[in-house]
Symmetry: C2
Subunit: 240 residues, 2 copies
């Protein structure tokens, strides 16, 4: 079945970190588990926020050409070491740091995601388009049982979103036109870049991306073809 | 569970055309459907064999550097037009030719494949490593309900198997070492190339790849870590 509003739509491509998965909750759990109380009453929520905060500037350096392409795994690891020193949590061993950093490859899907994806998958192709490394997205999807038809990542284009080559790669690998594909994300910069290339767009609000008190833009926007509260709502608005 | 024989094994990568799918049966059905009797008692089995026969030489031209990288969809289409002219079947319209050629993107899994993959997937990552275009592998997998964790194809490396870069790309995108990955194929050239790079290998016999009277090498080989009759046998030998 195809909804009249999107008669040409054949596939949806999804942001992963934040949109499909709760990285903050997962990393806090991992940090507490690996810290085993050695850090006292440390605020791991803020720590993960700071950690994630160092990620985007690193990608932007690559996009600006001031840094060569770098795996996101390495970006997270450098940021982790920097923060552990800064916060005087140097007792984490090399093995513990590696394990904590690998937490980014085990980030859990939000509760609505698997069921929503299964509904959408019946009518459309569904694929990732993530800034995380391909291997990380494969791990996240395997741990989380995410039923993608294909895993695509910016790494395959040697750059990061919002570089247009990233979306172009997904179109090429799907064999589809921009008008046949919808980008789904909780980050508006991602949707704007996709829209500029002629893709449909779906905004999904993730109010808890940065925790209960986190600052996050959840306002629906007229610029997007769909505004949804979660993946179940997205499926419903697609007629799935 | 990990079988003692392959303690390091974490993922299997699969050839698609021939190993996981019955392209000959599918394309014969498509040709008969689209021919609608206009071709009399034409031998579509031989036609599909001839069609497939033009595929490998075209890939080899790319590998030899005498032809730039070309989509496999185009290689099949050029071969189709050539054969239809040669066999005096020029009555096929442009639309019918496009539809017949698209048959390569709908090739059916062999009967043992889905169940075998589901068993293997419980213990290991499973991904494609196909010479077909990424978009074709996505379509084949969607039509056939093949439960891959990821779709990889030679196109992502800008070459074709058995170029080592193809297997290297799969290793990189899985984030794994050669000793952690097993190549599964019914074509020995594919397995030999993977083995040369240090991957494990599993030969799966497909006696009907070229029909009941087709010439095909189904002999088990000591050079391979596993020799299997089908994907169920492969799963069993892996302890899945």
């Amino acid at each position: 079945m195809t909804l009249a509003k999107f008669p040409a739509l054949k596939a949806l491509i999804f942001d992963v970190q934040g949109t499909a998965t709760d990285f903050r909750g997962t990393l806090i759990d991992e940090a507490i588990r690996l810290g085993r109380g050695r850090e006292g009453h440390f605020d791991w929520g803020s720590f993960v926020d700071d950690w994630r905060g160092l990620y985007r500037p690193a990608l932007d350096e690559v996009l600006a050409g001031t840094r060569p392409w770098t795996s996101v795994d390495l970006i997270y690891r450098e940021a982790l070491d920097q923060l552990l020193t800064q916060k005087k949590l140097a007792f984490f061993s090399e093995g513990e740091r590696a394990e904590l950093n690998f937490g980014w490859q085990k980030i859990r899907p939000w509760p609505d995601v698997i069921e929503g994806l299964r509904r959408i998958k019946k009518n459309y192709k569904i694929a990732t388009l993530s800034n995380a490394d391909v291997s990380a997205v494969v791990n996240i999807s395997k741990y989380g049982d995410l039923p993608w038809d294909a895993v695509f990542a910016a790494e395959m284009a040697g750059t990061f979103k919002p570089d247009p080559r990233t979306y172009g790669l997904a179109l090429k690998y799907l064999g589809l036109l921009p008008s046949e594909v919808m980008m789904v994300a909780c980050h508006k910069y991602d949707l704007k870049a996709a829209k500029d290339l002629g893709l449909h767009t779906a905004f999904v609000a993730r109010p808890l991306e940065f925790g209960a008190n986190g600052k996050v833009d959840t306002s629906f926007g007229q610029a997007f073809d769909i505004n949804a509260h979660d993946f179940g709502d997205l499926a419903a608005q697609l007629g799935c």
